[in-house]
Amino acid sequence: MKKPELLVTPTSVAHMEQLAQAGANAVVIGEQRYGLRLAGEFSRQHIVDAMHVARKHGVRVYVAMNALFHNDKVDELSDYVRFLAEQQVDAIIFGDPAVLMTVREVAPHMKLHWNTETTATNWYACNYWGRKGAKRAVLARELNMEEIIEIKKHAEVEIEVQVHGMTCMFQSKRSLIGNYFEYQGKFMEVQQMKYTKGLFLYDKERDNRYPIFEDENGTHIMSPNDICIIDELEEMIDAGIDSFKIDGVLHEPEYITEVTKRYRRAIDLCVEHREQYEEEKAKLFAEIEAIQPQHRPLDTGFFFKETVY
């Protein structure tokens, strides 16, 4: 049975080393100038350093270039892609076709992962981007297990699924936090508050807390719960899903490392010792639950949920 890749999001080069030791097979890194909602900010120098760590530990490095680009950044994309090609990163993650076009021009052998977060919702679209040059599709989080398995069955590209962490619900180009402070007349605080960590929107009706933050790409609102399906991996492993992602955005490095260790064990057991996995999975889940930050309940995302329209 094929073992899916365990893909994680380091917050720094040092953290990446810990994650490699915790059993990660691959990492997503990058900088907010080009990538969306990253756990850590990796400058070019950090990427150079990360590649050393990667070689030492046999970890693959995927660099996020999945922002929605406006004209002002289009010209500099080629320089960044060239740099990434020189560093021999393992893949570039894109959503905007401008990145795909740039890679074709300046680094045609670079692997591409298609990730728009919300729009990879059917197998045809995954294969379409495959025909355009993507090696992998990162599925939308709003799919259920059945849909994921069916996509995998028809997919001509690798399929990546997020199994743990927060997901993005909303991205606006507007400065929504800054605008609110300005509206309140708190001009002095705008710049300061916009970039503060720990902001959330409280939804009384649902008693939900949605993390919200601003960066170069606009305003982002995140899911109120962290997905955790460490105890529900069988079906996807049997279906041959290629990569399981733990997204650590807005989480502490220690937390991400601990979660990575648990998923390492869960995946290994599920592939190699299924019975033992069945015995141990509740415990693995409980261990993660025990380290959840306050206000971050666990749930199963859309894996077992019916959406209507």
Binding site: L68, M169, I177, E306
Partner: protein, 417 residues
């Protein structure tokens, strides 16, 4: 192609953009076309967003296409969901149906639908939906190379960005000029999925962005409120888009299609907004160098507005003044009260379908493409049988009364309040 030419010593616009209007049903489609839309976009029974809007059956589409063709107008069908696997069966048949009834094009986001349309319904033009959030020229170039006829840009693109895109890529560009809009990048919002288990990218959006929230900051284990009792809560509700002042700039940029949003809106809204933009576009194109926006056009637009409006990204990144805090809607100043069916020039009696309460003594306003707006005080009202009525109180009732100036079928009657 150049935008303008000197004809008889005067500059005129020779590249007139298409005015594209929404229609939620056949009646609205006819009104939109009659009031001056060059093209209308509608939704079918499946594959379009706004799953709760009135949508067209194939028969209705066929009738719409026929009606529009008498005016030389085109019909586009929105098929802009991001499909899930379960939506794949039936797609081919649906697209063949659209081609068969003669719609001109479809507005699409999902490559599944783009390629299926190419394969099974090649006569349909394919326009890329704003759901793809196209924000740069290179992405536009990609879609041109994929063979699309037209792209609808993201609402987040500015005038300058559109100019650059036009300069670098030879493809038809469609942009929004009026109506409600997402505050998120289109296609990148799943608030509804999370909050109400309704899929926004398949038409289930319940506008969670327009609700109120409370903003807190977590410090250790303590949540600190970033507002006090006197503050309005955190809100993301955008003012509706209104680019009437920017139409000249948009025409000079060579934008190919100017789009009004709102398939859910009333026929009164469609008629009012379409006729105002028709006038602005025509006036500018006829004499761009002496063009001024007339106050009556602005007033007219206001008569059907139920939210405040603003120009949004076309003129820069919108600040807090382009959002709504506290109050999220305003009362319209006018009610739509009647639709003209016929007018007898001899007797000056109008035959009209009632759309809202009115009575003798009310001052009403008539408007329509054939007439200048005028007001009229209503005298005696009769029903179809000639019985005198104390008021027109029944929806869709046919009534008659005297109107001093000539009016035409599809003209509308509104009443201030």
């Amino acid at each position: 192609m150049s935008i303008s030419q000197i004809i008889d010593g005067k500059r005129v616009i020779v590249k007139k953009p298409e005015l594209l209007a929404p229609a939620g049903n056949l009646e609205k489609l006819k009104v939109a076309v009659h009031y001056g839309a060059d093209a209308v976009f509608i939704g079918g029974q499946e594959y379009g967003l706004r799953s709760n809007a009135d949508n067209f059956t194939l028969e209705e589409m066929a009738e719409g296409v026929q009606f529009a063709s008498k005016y030389g107008a085109k019909i586009y069908v929105t098929t802009n969901i991001y499909a899930h696997n379960e939506n794949i069966p039936g797609l081919e048949e649906y697209l063949r149906g659209l081609e068969r009834v003669g719609v001109h094009g479809i507005i699409v986001a999902d490559p599944l639908i783009i390629e299926t349309a190419r394969r099974v319904a090649p006569k349909l033009e394919v326009h890329l939906s704003t759901q793809q959030s196209l924000t740069n020229w290179k992405a536009v170039q990609f879609w041109k190379e994929e063979g699309l006829e037209r792209v609808v840009l993201a609402r987040e693109t500015s005038a300058e960005e559109i100019r650059q895109i036009k300069e670098k890529v030879d493809i038809e560009i469609e942009t929004f000029i009026h109506g409600a809009m997402c505050i998120a990048y289109s296609g990148r919002c799943v608030l509804s999925n999370h909050m109400t288990a309704r899929d926004s990218n398949r038409g289930g959006c319940c506008q969670s962005c327009r609700w109120d929230y409370d903003l807190y900051k977590l410090e250790g284990d303590r949540a600190i409120a970033l507002f006090d009792e006197n503050d309005d809560p955190f809100a993301m509700s955008p003012k509706d888009l209104n680019l009437i002042q920017s139409i000249p700039k948009m025409i000079e940029l060579g934008i190919d299609s100017l789009k009004i949003e709102g398939r859910m809106k009333s026929i009164h809204y469609v008629a009012t907004v379409v006729s105002v933009y028709r006038k602005v576009i025509d006036a500018y194109c006829a004499d761009p160098d002496n063009f001024v926006i007339r106050k009556e056009w602005l007033d007219e637009l206001d008569k059907c507005a139920n939210r405040d409006t603003a120009p949004a990204f076309f003129e820069g990144v919108p600040g807090y003044k382009e959002q709504m805090f506290g109050v999220h809607s305003k009362k319209t100043t006018y009610d739509f009260v009647g639709l003209v069916l016929d007018y007898d020039k001899e007797t000056r009696i109008v035959t009209l379908q009632q759309r809202n309460f009115f009575k003798p003594g009310d001052e009403v306003e008539f408007f329509g493409p054939e007439i200048e707006n005028f007001t009229q005080v209503i005298e005696t009202i009769w029903d179809e049988e000639g019985n005198e009525l104390d008021a027109a109180r029944h929806p869709l009732q046919i009534v008659r009364f005297k109107v001093d100036r000539e009016v035409f079928p599809y003209n509308m009657m509104r009443k201030g309040h």
